[in-house]
Each structure stands twice: as structure tokens, then as C-alpha cells.
């Protein structure tokens, strides 16, 4: 069972392409551009996503796709997956809670839980980036107005 939207997402490159983000304070708008000219606009004044919400949405989206694939190859017939992504502060550290709601046949609750717990870390690349400590290098180039 393959969904066309899922199939198109799965065709993406496994490497991490550079994302360029442009912010013009006057317009209260952010624009993120991926290779190939694909653009995403974030409005800071309207009712759009905040950058953090967008990051959590990316995590949830990646997790849903991976869970769908992992359950499907185990014979599950998945009709719907949703995930609540919640960030909590615990003892000064951020804790990300992923709470899955899955509508599927031919798969047990215990099996789904075990599969997700054991394999999500291995396959969800967004979760992987969130979990791993990422080396950060910063370069600043200032242009006078």
C-alpha cells in the first residue's frame, strides 16, 4: 500500500541540502529557500507557523512517514497516523514527547509500540538530528546599509 504523497517525499535525497533563510524585518516575513528554488514563507505578523513550530512539524511529518513505512513492511494496513509533538522543560532540559495515534489493521498495539520505540531513532532523520549533538560553526559577513 503506497500513498502518492508519501511516495514523492520518499524520493528526496538522503543528503542534507543547504537551506537559505532570508529575513527582512520591514516586511515581518521570513523566506526559506531550498535547492531548486522551492520557497517557504513565514509571516511573523500573521497567524502562520513560528520557526519552532515549523521545526516540530518537520519532526512530526518525518516520524509519521517512517512509522508508516515500518508498520507497512510488518504487514500493517495503515489508514491514518497522527502524532502530537510536545516540547516540555524537565530539570532545565528540553524533552520532546511524541504521542502517536494510529488507525491500522493487521498490527497489534504492543508490536506498534515496540517497533516505533526501537526503530524510529534509527530511521527518522529529523529526530536523529534533534537527538544528536550537532557541531555548529558560525560565519558572519556584515554588509553596511
Amino acid at each position: 500500500m503506497s500513498h502518492p504523497v508519501v511516495a514523492s517525499v520518499l524520493d528526496m535525497s538522503p543528503t542534507s541540502p543547504p537551506i537559505k533563510v532570508l529575513f527582512v524585518p520591514e516586511r515581518e516575513e521570513l523566506c526559506a529557500e531550498a535547492p531548486g528554488g522551492r520557497k517557504l514563507f513565514l509571516s511573523l505578523s500573521g497567524g502562520g507557523f513560528t520557526p519552532l513550530e515549523l521545526a516540530l512539524a518537520a519532526l512530526g511529518a518525518c516520524a509519521c512517514i517512517e512509522v508508516y513505512k515500518l508498520l507497512s513492511i510488518r504487514g500493517g494496513l495503515v489508514e491514518k497516523i497522527s502524532v502530537d509533538v510536545v516540547v516540555e522543560k524537565e530539570k532545565g532540559e528540553n524533552l520532546i514527547n511524541l504521542s502517536f495515534h494510529i488507525k491500522a489493521d493487521r498490527i497489534g498495539g504492543k508490536e506498534a509500540e515496540e517497533t516505533i520505540k526501537h526503530l524510529l531513532d534509527k530511521y527518522c532523520s529529523v529526530w536523529h538530528v534533534f537527538r544528536q549533538s550537532v557541531g555548529l560553526s558560525i560565519a558572519v559577513k556584515l554588509e553596511k546599509r
Binding site: 528526496m12 513492511i73 510488518r74 504487514g75 498490527i107 526501537h118 527518522c124
Partner: protein, 110 residues
């Protein structure tokens, strides 16, 4: 977590699963038996293999798959060998042995 896919039949045949633990640690194995290719899940079993244990699991023990045939999925948390041994009930000299192929795990989405 290796995942294997095979075929069983208890309809005129008897199927025995051949499970061999390839490591020096206990292995948790889940076996799922479906009706046909796309039918419902008939039974889900959990087995724990001891280190290097080789076990023959006779599907006669699973009443829910009596007179049924279909796909079998075997999910293990460590490396195992997984095979099927089918015996024809009318002529027990007729047997089929096969090794279950491993299903490739999916690659990351992005």
C-alpha cells in the same frame, strides 16, 4: 531488527518453522501469520530463542491457522536464520524446504 517473509500452509500440508539464533545472546522473535497474501492477521506469536538455539516450531500448535495458508512474517531483534519445512500430509516423502528472504528495511525519508 531483521525481518523475514515466507509462506506457510496448513491446508493439506504441515509447516514447521526453522529458527536458528546466530548470536550468543537471547533473541526475541515475533511471528505473524496472515490469511493469504492480503488477508487478516490470524495469529501473532512471540518466541524467545536461547543463545545459538535452533528450534523447529510446528504450526500444528496454532489452532487459528488450521486448514489455512498464507504469508508469514518473522521479526527478530538480533540476527537469526529463518526457514520453512513443509510436509505433504498425504505423502510425507513430499517435502519443501526453503530459506525465508530478508525484507530490506526502509531508507530514511529525507
Amino acid at each position: 531488527m531483521p525481518l523475514f517473509k515466507g509462506w506457510y500452509t496448513q491446508d493439506g500440508w504441515r509447516t514447521k518453522l526453522v529458527l536458528i539464533n546466530q548470536v550468543d545472546e537471547p533473541v526475541n522473535v515475533r511471528i505473524k501469520l496472515f490469511e493469504g497474501e492480503d488477508g487478516p492477521l490470524l495469529a501473532s506469536l512471540r518466541i524467545k530463542l536461547k543463545p545459538k538455539e535452533m528450534r523447529f516450531y510446528n504450526l500444528d500448535r496454532v489452532k487459528r491457522v488450521s486448514k489455512r495458508a498464507g504469508v508469514i512474517l518473522v521479526d527478530a531483534d538480533k540476527p537469526i536464520f529463518c526457514g520453512g519445512h513443509l510436509i505433504n500430509l498425504e505423502n510425507e516423502m513430499r517435502v519443501i524446504d526453503y530459506k525465508m528472504p530478508k525484507i530490506d528495511e526502509p531508507s530514511g525519508c529525507c
